[in-house]
């Protein structure tokens, strides 16, 4: 369970020559009732893990699409407590690792230790807290480690080489490479130096490196995956679920997983 499960699952996929794909779901968007159905659907599409967002009133790392999904979810009455209870109930039927993405305040309010205990019970394998950088991580890592939950760290295009090394050396589960300057949400292009950035991360990291933020189509997913181990896709998946365009989700995921060569110019 936990950290080991993420690392084992990812390793198996990579050994088979697949690229990793983590879709983001906003828990409670459309109500918690549709959550299991969506998780199962994503499992069938062949995802490597699922990043499950906990809605927050002030999501400063998120762009408009996820902000709106969060508001919809809050209107449904979604709480961290509710999501953990729900996850615990349907723990047995899940086959892929679950990674919670929550801003610190809901977790802090829940109680850091209680959260680690209950998240573990609910079958949560990893946690992403976008507003906890290196400087503050001690606040949460002790309890998470005690319960074998991976604390997934993020690196950014602005991170200095020294910070990258430090973050990479501590990384567990996978390294989340934020590949745009800014918040989550669709972008036309990724900067040309993203390639060098991802390749540098690959050199320093002992766990898989996944690129996230601004990945909204198969072409972008393939381009980025070529330089690392896979992608995390948030806003686009959230949007497609919201608009009931699930067939397109399947196409997106399958197209991103099964390839090894850069589509345009090889190498």
């Amino acid at each position: 369970m936990g950290k080991e499960r993420i690392e084992r699952t990812f390793q198996n996929k990579l050994l088979r020559g697949e690229k990793l794909f983590i879709p983001y779901l906003m828990a409670g968007d459309g109500g918690l009732d549709v959550l299991d159905e969506r998780i199962q659907f994503l499992e069938k599409c062949g995802v490597s893990a699922i990043e499950l967002g906990i809605p927050f009133s002030d999501p400063v790392a998120d762009g408009p699409t996820i902000q709106k999904a969060g508001l919809r979810s809050l209107k449904e009455g979604t709480t961290l407590t509710g999501v953990l209870k729900h996850l615990k109930k349907c723990k047995k039927t899940r086959t892929v690792p679950i990674i919670l993405m929550a801003y610190l305040n809901p977790i802090y309010r829940y109680g850091l230790e209680n959260f680690a205990v209950d998240a573990k019970e609910a079958g949560v394998d990893g946690v992403i807290i976008p507003d906890v950088p290196l400087e503050e991580e001690e606040l949460v890592t002790g309890y998470l480690h005690q319960h074998h939950i991976a604390f997934i760290r993020l690196v950014a295009l602005t991170s200095s080489r020294d910070r990258v090394k430090e973050i990479a050396s501590r990384s567990e589960g996978f390294l989340y490479a934020v590949s745009v300057m800014g918040t989550t949400g669709a972008r036309k292009n990724h900067d040309s130096h993203v390639k060098d950035y991802l390749e540098m991360l690959k050199r320093y990291s002992s766990v898989p490196v996944l690129a996230g933020f601004g990945v909204s189509n198969v072409e972008q997913a393939r381009k980025l995956s070529y330089h690392c181990d896979g992608v995390i896709v948030g806003s686009r998946i959230v949007e497609l679920f919201h608009e009931d365009r699930t067939e397109e989700i399947k196409v997106f995921i399958r197209g991103s997983i099964h390839h090894t060569l850069e589509p345009s110019h090889k190498g």
């Binding site: 009133s57 002030d58 961290l80 507003d131 503050e136 602005t158 991170s159 910070r163 300057m181 800014g182």
Partner: protein, 398 residues
């Protein structure tokens, strides 16, 4: 001898404060901290700062003995620190001058800022005009409605005002949007945070730039009353004027410090902005402090007649000063603030900002229970011209 040396090297006041921001912003905070620490010890920077504070802002501001108000109320002598007489009409410019000079030092040419009442927006737009910086101000849609005149002032000064319709359309939402924009433009843009909030080093830096208020006050009261004040009163939203006023008095144990929060329609309602009195520990906008939130950690919307106090969080140093019992945090309702607004106008011919009216209202209550040989200093953080229209409407309804 100084014993109060917070924040520590990690930007903490006790366990409050810190740097709870996405990794993307961390390098900018590290750069800012370095730039600030070297600037602070650079005589050239300090000279430029004091030059502009004197010749441009118009410091020092008077400490005025409000004799008419004192006689009207009865009790302790009330002194007003006239921050309303600063250029642009409030204390906010003490900080924006400092941060603009720092922006130039870092070689950045663009600034952004959030604003509630519009005072900090105007102060940022003003220094941007002065120092030739591109300037974008983020302002909640609701606040734009409340403070139209200030929006026009900012535009006149050459700034772009971006309306933020998200959430309650107030200061909290404007701050979220400014943080998002900063993440996308962090390499060439400095974020001029206007209050003693946000991630380290902002709470410290804003306090330092604002502490000119308390330093001057200390000298002036010694000159006028021949002793330190018995009480110092200032309003607390994010808490920049109050921390600037309190900081030089923190080690003067005989000076009682009162921070006045906005009680809105009353602390028993959900319509207030009293983060220290009614909030719980939490993380908002990059710092651990007291925050108005629900049981599940969702941030609540604050409420106050005063746009500048309408914020669900508070600077981390205030939470600390509260916990160590150095500052007493109290609150004043919309109604009490409005009464003080009118009373000060009528007795002294000074129209205070609605924010500052909260401090005046508490000082009035306090003066009544103190002796006539005791003194109170009130930080009159801004002038009330911006609020006249809103108050007129409100009084007509009543």
């Amino acid at each position: 001898m100084t014993t109060y040396t917070l924040p520590d090297k990690n930007g903490k006041f006790g366990h409050y404060g810190g740097q709870f921001v996405p990794e993307l912003l961390m390098p900018a905070l590290i750069e800012l901290e370095k730039a600030y620490e070297t600037a602070k010890n650079d005589p050239e920077f300090q000279q430029a700062l004091s030059y502009h504070l004197k010749q441009y802002v118009g410091r020092k501001t008077p400490l005025y003995y409000a004799e008419q108000l004192t006689n009207h109320v009865g009790g302790a002598k009330i002194f007003l620190k006239r921050e309303d007489l600063n250029h642009t009409g409030a204390h906010k410019i003490n900080n924006t001058i400092g941060q603009a000079l720092l922006t130039k030092r870092m070689g950045k040419k663009k600034v952004i800022a959030e604003t509630g009442a519009g005072q900090h927006g105007v102060a940022t737009a003003t220094v941007s005009a002065l120092f030739d910086l591109d300037c974008i101000i983020f302002m909640g849609a609701e606040d734009i409605e409340r403070q139209r005149l200030n929006v026009f002032r900012m535009e006149l000064l050459g700034a772009e005002v971006r309306s933020v319709p998200n959430g309650s359309g107030t200061l909290k939402d404007a701050t979220n949007e400014a943080l998002r924009y900063w993440a996308s433009h962090v390499q060439d843009t400095h974020y001029v945070i206007g209050s003693a909030v946000g991630p380290h080093p902002f709470p410290k830096m804003v306090r330092d730039f604002q502490s000119v208020i308390g330093k001057e006050t200390k000298e002036q009261i010694l000159e006028q009353a021949k002793k330190l004040p018995d009480a110092v009163v200032a309003c607390v939203g994010g808490g920049s004027n109050s921390i600037g006023m309190f900081y030089p008095f923190v080690e003067e144990k005989n000076v009682k410090l009162f921070g006045v929060e906005a009680a809105g329609l009353g602390l028993r309602t959900n319509q207030h902005a009293a983060a220290i009195t009614k909030g719980e520990k939490g993380i908002l906008h990059g710092a651990l402090s007291k925050v108005l939130q629900d049981d599940h950690g969702q941030i609540k919307e604050a409420f106050s007649i005063s746009a500048g106090l309408d914020y669900p969080g508070v600077g981390p140093e205030h939470s600390y000063l509260h916990d160590i019992n150095r500052v007493m945090y109290v609150s004043v309702t919309d109604k009490e603030a409005l009464d003080a607004f009118q009373l000060l106008s009528k007795t002294e011919g000074i129209i205070p900002a609605l924010e500052s009216s909260h401090a005046v209202a508490y000082a009035i209550k306090l003066a009544k229970v103190m002796r006539s040989d005791e003194t109170i200093v009130v930080c009159l953080s801004g002038r009330g011209d911006k609020d006249v229209e809103q108050v007129q409407k409100r009084l007509e309804v009543e």
